[in-house]
Homo-oligomer: 354 residues x 2
C-alpha cells in the first residue's frame, strides 16, 4: 500500500463517524484522537479501531448522542458522567475541564465514569502539556493481566500517561500499559504464527508460556504485569483512582468493549490530573526548566546503537512529522479494518482504500 | 542478635536525634518514620541510616533547628521551603498540609524543595490513607539509574508511593523505586561476594554486568531502569513533578546525601498528592468499595507457592504486627550502624546493643 495522506484519512473517518449519528463536532474529536494516534505510529490504538467503535455506536452501547456532563464538582475536582458517549468525546471534555480548573486552582482531578475505551491515554495528557501544564491520565479496563502468583487475570492493562512540554526541546509524552507487553503484540505474534519470549504470558497453571494462541484464542492465558509486583501495584492504583473513586465498575464488572454485545455500556472509568506549574514557579519559568532538563539528558553519552538518549514520546513525535509530510504507512491489517469500517457504515471507499 | 523491642529502639533513636539539637517533637517524627520502616522489614530505609543523618545534622548540611515553611500556597496547592530540616520532618509537615487542603479542596498537591533524603516514601502515603484519603508521594535523588541506551546514570532511583485504606481488608501501600532493583541489593551482593543477575546493572560500556563491585565501588556502573523505557519515563515524570516544578536542583545538581560533605544542603525535592474520595462518592462509600476490590482480588485463584494474591503492602503490614509483638530481628549490619550512631553521638549503648 502507498502511504495514506493524513487529510484524506481524517475526512474519511469523520464521515464514517457521522454516519452513525455522531454530531460533526463529536466526530471531529473522535477522528482527531484516532488519526493523531496513527501519526505517532501507535496503530493498535488508531483508526484500525473505527469499525469496533461504530459497531457499538450502532448497537447503542455507545450513545451517538451521548453528552458527558458534570455530576458533582468543586474548584479543583469534578465527577463526570460520560452518558455512554464515545470515550474520546468524554475524555476531551474531562481534560478540558481539568485544564480550566487547574488554571486557577493550581491542580485539578477529574474522574469520568459510565465511559468506554478511550484510545491512547497520551493524547489527553498531551492536551495539558500543550497548554503549559502537566497532565496525568489513567483508565481501567477488563482484566487481562495477572498479579504475582495469580492463576487468572486480575486487573486490566490499565494505561498510564504523563505529559509536559518544554520551550525548545519538545514535549515529553509517556504512555504505557501496566502490563509487561501490550495484548496487541501477543495477538500479532499469534496472527503471524510466531512464538513469544518467556515472561510475557502466563498459562492457566501459572507458568510462563511462549504460545501466543493461549491468549489470542482465549484459552485462559493472561499477560504478565510490568516489572512484576510494581506493575500490578500501579494497575491497582489506577483501578482505585478511576473506578473505586468514581463509583464505576471495577475489574471483571467492566465490559469487554471489543467483544461483548454492542448494546451494553461497558462502564469504563478514567482519571485526569492536571498540575499548573505556574502557581509554583511564576508564569514562565517551567518550560525553560524543562529545556535544561531535556537538553541535559540528550547531551549525556549513549551507545552508538541507541542513537542518543530519547525523551519519552520523541520517537512518536518524529513519526508524526514524517506522517504529516509523507502520509502514514499502515500495516495491511489496518487497511483491512478501515475497509470494514467503510462497508459496515456504507461509506464509499476513498481512493486510498480502493 | 535477639529481637529488638520496638519501644526500646524508639527511645534510643529519639535520644540520638535530640543529641544533635533536634527538638523533642522533630526527633519524635524522625524516629517514627525510621522505626516504622524497620517494623515493615524495610531495613535499607530504617534506623540503619541514623548515623548518616546525625553526621549531616552535626555538619549542618541538615539544619537541626530547620523549620519547613509555606512559601506560596492556594486552597489546593503549596510550595514548601524545607529550610534544610530533616527530610522526614519536612515531609510530614507537607503531607499534613496536603491532607488538610484536600479535606476541603478535594485534591491537593504540595511540593517541597531544599530538602534531603526523606526515607521510605510509603510512610507519607500511608498518612493520607489513615485519614480515609488517597496519597501519592514522589522524590528525586542523585542519578544512579540509566536511561535506555545511556552510558552513564541519568536519573535517581526516584521513588514512587501510593496508599489507600479499605474498611476491613487493610491498606494498600505501594512503595517502589523506578530502578529495576534497589541499589542496596547490589551493594549487599558486593558485600557478600556474590554475583548479581543479568539486567540489574550496566557497566560504563553500556553492557549488562553480573559484577556488583562495579556499582558498589563506584566504577562507572549504574542501575537499570525498571521495565526499561517505562521506569525511565516514570523517573523523569517524578523529576519534573518534584524538582522542575519547585525550582529545586535537578539530576546531577542534587547532592549525594550519604557521601558528600556534611555541610552542604543536598536540595532534594518531593511531591505529595492527596485526593479525597469523599468529594466524589459521599463521605463513607470509599473504604467499603476498597473492601470489595481487595477481598475480590484475594478470592481469585493463585498458585500454591504464592500463598494467595497479596495486596501491595500486605507483607510489610504482617511483618509490622510481628515486630510489635516480638521485636525486630535486625541483620547484623543494622546493629553495627546503630552502634556507630550511639558512639558518634555519645549516647550510652542501650541493652539491645550491648
Amino acid at each position: 500500500m502507498n502511504p495514506v495522506p493524513v487529510a484524506e484519512l481524517r475526512t474519511f473517518v469523520q464521515q464514517v463517524f457521522q454516519r452513525t449519528g455522531l454530531s460533526a463536532a463529536d466526530a471531529e474529536i473522535a477522528t482527531d484522537v484516532l488519526v493523531t494516534t496513527d501519526t505517532w505510529g501507535v496503530f493498535t490504538h488508531g483508526t484500525k479501531l473505527v469499525y469496533l467503535y461504530t459497531r457499538r455506536l450502532r448497537g447503542k452501547g455507545l450513545s451517538p448522542q451521548g453528552r458527558p456532563r458534570v455530576e458533582r464538582e468543586g474548584p479543583a475536582w469534578a465527577l463526570v458522567d460520560a452518558d455512554s458517549a464515545m470515550g474520546s468525546v468524554s475524555s476531551v471534555f474531562a481534560m478540558e475541564l481539568a485544564i480550566a480548573k487547574a488554571a486557577t486552582a493550581g491542580v485539578a482531578y477529574v474522574v469520568v465514569h459510565r465511559s468506554c475505551h478511550f484510545g491512547a491515554a497520551g493524547y489527553y495528557a498531551a492536551m495539558a502539556a500543550s497548554r503549559g501544564m502537566v497532565g496525568m491520565v489513567m483508565s481501567n479496563d477488563v482484566p487481562s493481566v495477572g498479579a504475582p502468583g495469580s492463576l487468572v487475570p486480575i486487573l486490566g492493562s490499565n494505561p498510564f500517561a504523563f505529559a509536559a512540554a518544554s520551550d525548545t526541546q519538545g514535549s515529553m509524552v509517556l504512555d504505557m500499559a501496566t502490563a509487561a507487553v501490550a495484548g496487541g503484540k501477543v495477538a500479532a505474534a499469534a496472527a503471524e504464527g510466531k512464538s513469544i519470549p518467556e515472561g510475557w504470558l502466563f498459562d492457566k497453571e501459572g507458568n510462563t508460556t511462549t504460545d501466543p494462541n493461549l491468549f489470542a484464542k482465549q484459552q485462559g492465558a493472561f499477560l504478565a504485569p510490568m516489572a512484576g509486583p510494581k506493575g500490578y501495584g500501579l494497575a491497582l492504583m489506577i483501578e482505585i483512582l478511576s473506578a473505586a473513586v468514581s463509583g464505576s465498575a471495577m475489574r471483571d464488572k467492566v465490559g469487554m468493549w471489543a467483544h461483548q454485545p454492542t448494546s451494553i455500556n461497558t462502564d469504563h472509568s478514567h482519571g485526569f490530573l492536571v498540575i499548573n506549574p505556574a502557581v509554583f514557579l511564576g508564569s514562565d519559568a517551567f518550560a525553560g526548566r524543562l529545556d535544561d532538563l531535556f537538553a541535559g539528558i540528550r547531551r549525556e553519552p549513549a551507545t552508538a546503537a541507541s542513537g542518543g538518549i530519547k525523551i519519552p514520546g520523541q520517537i512518536e513525535s518524529q513519526k508524526q512529522q514524517e506522517a504529516l509530510e509523507k502520509g502514514i504507512q499502515f500495516p495491511d491489517e489496518v487497511i483491512r479494518m478501515l475497509r470494514v469500517a467503510a462497508e459496515e457504515n456504507q461509506v464509499p471507499l476513498p481512493t486510498f482504500l480502493s
